[in-house]
């Protein structure tokens, strides 16, 4: 076991503006000062007050301490000022430990005697642990002013344009050629721009002509390496040649796919996929001067047989239902488990739909379908009527039944996400680091994920995400360099068995297998030869220092620099 018997520890007792005064009395100060390795003990009124930190500089000089234990409030309170310490003082911020006496003792334990005992134990333990600390340096990495956007559709275009407009050189890598030809995505809008085709055309034109935007069409991603600030993106051009793009950050902007329900009776042409409703209106009423489609009078929408979780189908169905009812004088029934009105404006639209006479039926058991005289008969039990106690089945005969489509994550976006080191969820959608705190940030630093490849969403939302990603990426690459503490995991290459576990478990794609080298000074031929071997290596820029790999390593070759296994072990050994 490593010796902890080194280091000169200084203790600062923070009274937190008097709150801790009763607990941290003279007896306590004496106790603390008497702990092994403690060379100085000061008590300040309020450590966090302005100038509180500056006072230390002088004292450190006097006592020549090399590590510090603060007895006071929660470390969370002090941590921001630790960063300042790095700039102003000579003490490394990772050489400071905090005994959280305020939160964990003063506020949590009522009995005074018990609290005093606990405070002593807590401080003693912290002081013991302080012996394990090691200073941690800071590293910088150059960040080139360049972002790559990978994606085939309008969201990718939007993101690329957003960056280009901010004068950040951007490369748009897409496999479609020519870009902007396929306009099916216009159907993914929930409200959409006033003149969709015009809006679209303008966007495509700008993408093609923007001076900051380099367009790589018909290309495929072959390889992705490096770390934030210096990613190497290898693409295959239509000619089959490989080209490497060096970039600081990458935005993956892909869509989702949908497949019409075609099982059994749904294969009949009387069932229309939701996305085809507009086409149905065009083709099924040839020569109708009165704009009333003769081919169908009654239309049923059946939702929630698939994709129950997404609100976009409800919005689209309601919009079409209103139009069919109002503009084409059809009888319209919407059958669903729930009307989902979470998207903007859908609540009002739903009310509108009811006003114009669209009938909504809420079901628990899926409706049963059969053909009756060329129409489709739907037998359904209305749950809302059941609440009133009328337990009977409604039979609705419709000329057309509109079904929502099954949403799928596209194989291509899955492949791309995997190549970029973005984890996929169970359905194959790309996952972001934390949906609440970083909704477009992938777990790999410098990689962003937006659009339908995350989950099926209306185009409005996807475009907003694109904007968010542009903001984030802009912020990252606007600085010339990215500074970070080396508070990361570290591999001892000599112990690594190359089992790949760490690389497999790391959620941040921060571990690669790398070639290590060292001079072999024992070479018998008298020449110092380079000895090389493969082992796992942590890319400090990518590492978040959470230590998942550390616990996974079967040879204990990895340790977390700012919280070593040894430190935890010292903590546990009372």
């Amino acid at each position: 076991m490593k010796s902890t018997n080194h280091g000169r520890i200084g203790v600062v007792v923070d009274h937190c503006g008097g709150a801790l005064s009763s607990l941290l009395d003279e007896d306590m100060i004496q106790y603390v000062a008497g702990l092994p390795q403690v060379v100085s003990c000061h008590h300040d009124e309020d450590l966090l007050s302005s100038g509180g930190l500056e006072k230390f500089n002088d004292r450190w000089k006097e006592t020549r301490i090399d590590r510090l234990v603060i007895v006071g409030a929660s470390p969370k309170v002090y941590e921001a000022s630790f960063r300042r310490v790095r700039e102003t003082g000579r003490l490394n911020p990772y050489m400071i430990l905090v005994a959280n006496v305020r939160e964990q003792v003063l506020w949590a334990i009522c009995d005074t005697e018990q609290a005093k005992q606990k405070a002593k134990a807590l401080v003693a333990e912290t002081v013991r642990r302080a012996g394990c600390l090691q200073p941690i340096g800071r590293e910088k990495t150059d960040v080139s002013r360049h972002v790559a956007v990978i994606g085939d559709g309008v969201v990718a275009m939007k993101a690329a344009l957003g960056l280009a407009d901010a004068k950040i050189p951007v490369t748009l890598v897409t496999d479609s050629h020519p870009i902007g030809e396929d306009m099916t995505e216009l159907g993914h809008f929930h409200q959409g721009p006033a003149d969709p085709r015009g809006w679209w055309g303008e966007m495509v034109e700008r993408v093609k002509s923007h001076p900051e935007l380099e367009l790589k069409t018909s290309t495929d991603l072959r390889d992705f390496e490096g770390s934030f600030g210096d990613f190497q993106l290898t693409i295959e051009t239509p000619g089959g040649t490989l080209e490497t793009i060096r970039t600081s950050a990458v935005i993956l902007a892909m869509g989702y796919e949908s497949a019409p329900q075609r099982e059994a009776i749904f294969g009949s042409d009387r069932f229309v996929p939701l996305s085809q409703v507009a086409t149905m209106l065009e083709t099924d009423r040839p020569g109708q001067v009165d704009r009333k489609p003769a081919a169908f009078r009654t239309v049923g929408f059946v939702l929630d047989l698939v994709n129950e979780a997404f609100p976009i189908d409800s919005a689209n169905a309601i919009r079409h239902a209103i139009s069919l009812r109002r503009d084409h004088d059809c009888s319209v029934y919407v059958l669903c488990r729930d009307v989902k009105v979470s998207l903007q404006g859908v609540e009002a639209q739903y009310r509108r739909a009811r006003e114009v006479g669209v009938v909504f039926i809420k079901y628990d058991d899926p409706p049963r379908f059969s053909f009756v005289n060329g129409q489709i008969n739907m037998d359904v039990k209305d749950v809302s009527s059941r609440m009133r106690g009328d337990e009977y089945t409604l039979s609705i005969c419709a000329d057309r039944v509109v079904l929502n489509e099954r949403f799928l994550s596209s194989k291509r976006s899955q492949t791309l996400a995997k190549a970029l080191g973005v984890p996929l969820d169970r359905e194959g959608y790309a996952m972001v680091d934390n949906p609440q705190f970083g909704p477009v940030k992938a777990s790999r630093r410098g990689v962003f994920v937006v659009g339908g490849c995350r989950y099926p969403q209306p185009m409005e939302e996807a475009l907003t995400e694109a904007e968010a990603a542009v903001l984030e990426a802009k912020q990252l690459v606007s600085r010339k360099e990215f500074g970070y503490d080396l508070a990361v995991a570290e591999v001892d290459p000599a112990k690594c068995a190359l089992c790949l576990t760490c690389a497999r478990v790391c959620p941040h794609s921060a571990i690669t297998i790398d070639r290590y080298a060292e001079k072999n000074i024992y070479a018998t031929d008298g020449y110092g030869r380079e000895m090389t071997w493969d082992a796992a290596r942590v890319l400090p820029v990518q590492c978040y220092g959470r230590g998942i790999c550390v616990g996974s390593c079967p040879t204990k070759a990895i340790d977390l620099k700012h919280q070593t296994d040894h430190e935890i072990s010292v903590h546990l050994t009372a």
């Binding site: 929660s74 470390p75 969370k76 959280n100 305020r102 939160e103 964990q104 003063l106 506020w107 949590a108 334990i109 009522c110 009995d111 018990q114 609290a115 005992q117 606990k118 984890p423 996952m431 680091d433 934390n434 949906p435 609440q436 705190f437 777990s443 478990v505 959620p507 941040h508 978040y544 220092g545 959470r546 230590g547 998942i548 550390v550 616990g551 996974s552 977390l560 700012h562 919280q563 296994d565 935890i568 072990s569 903590h571 546990l572 050994t573 009372a574």
Partner: protein, 135 residues
């Protein structure tokens, strides 16, 4: 018989449970004096060996606190630790230790009261269970 005070070691994720623990006191909940809080950057930092070490060093119970499902700040940390805890549970069964002595709990950073409640319940549970046989 002298009264038995269970010793609990709680591994607290810095992003959630550690903050919740801070908050517990602020809300006026009390925590047992025998609670030892170990702050980890992510529940995924906690390994089988740490838990075993805690028990071997005399803890009557071990609580591992992780972020809620799908809300881990390291994406998979809470799932990784789950399988490690499962492994320790199997080992405990082989050793002959009650599985109640170790539990993985999920708590949000804002939920100080829940943190205090979980610790309190575990404390009571351990009081009934008695001291760890390997203490």
């Amino acid at each position: 018989m002298t009264s038995f005070v269970p010793r609990i070691v709680a591994f607290c994720c810095d992003k959630s449970a550690y903050v919740a623990a801070d908050r517990a006191g602020r809300l006026g909940s009390s925590l047992p004096a025998s609670l030892e809080i170990i702050r980890v950057p992510c529940a995924g930092r906690v390994d089988v060996i740490h838990v075993l070490q805690a028990i071997e060093q005399g803890a009557d119970g071990v609580l591992v606190f992780a972020c809620h499902e799908d809300n881990c700040h390291s994406l998979t940390g809470n799932r990784v630790v789950q399988v490690r805890i499962d492994r320790v549970h199997r080992l405990m069964e082989e050793i002959g230790l009650e599985r109640e002595r170790l539990e993985l709990r999920h708590v949000a950073s804002t939920n100080g009261a829940k943190f205090a409640q979980i610790v309190e319940r575990k404390f009571q549970e351990l009081e009934t269970l008695g001291p760890s046989p390997v203490r």
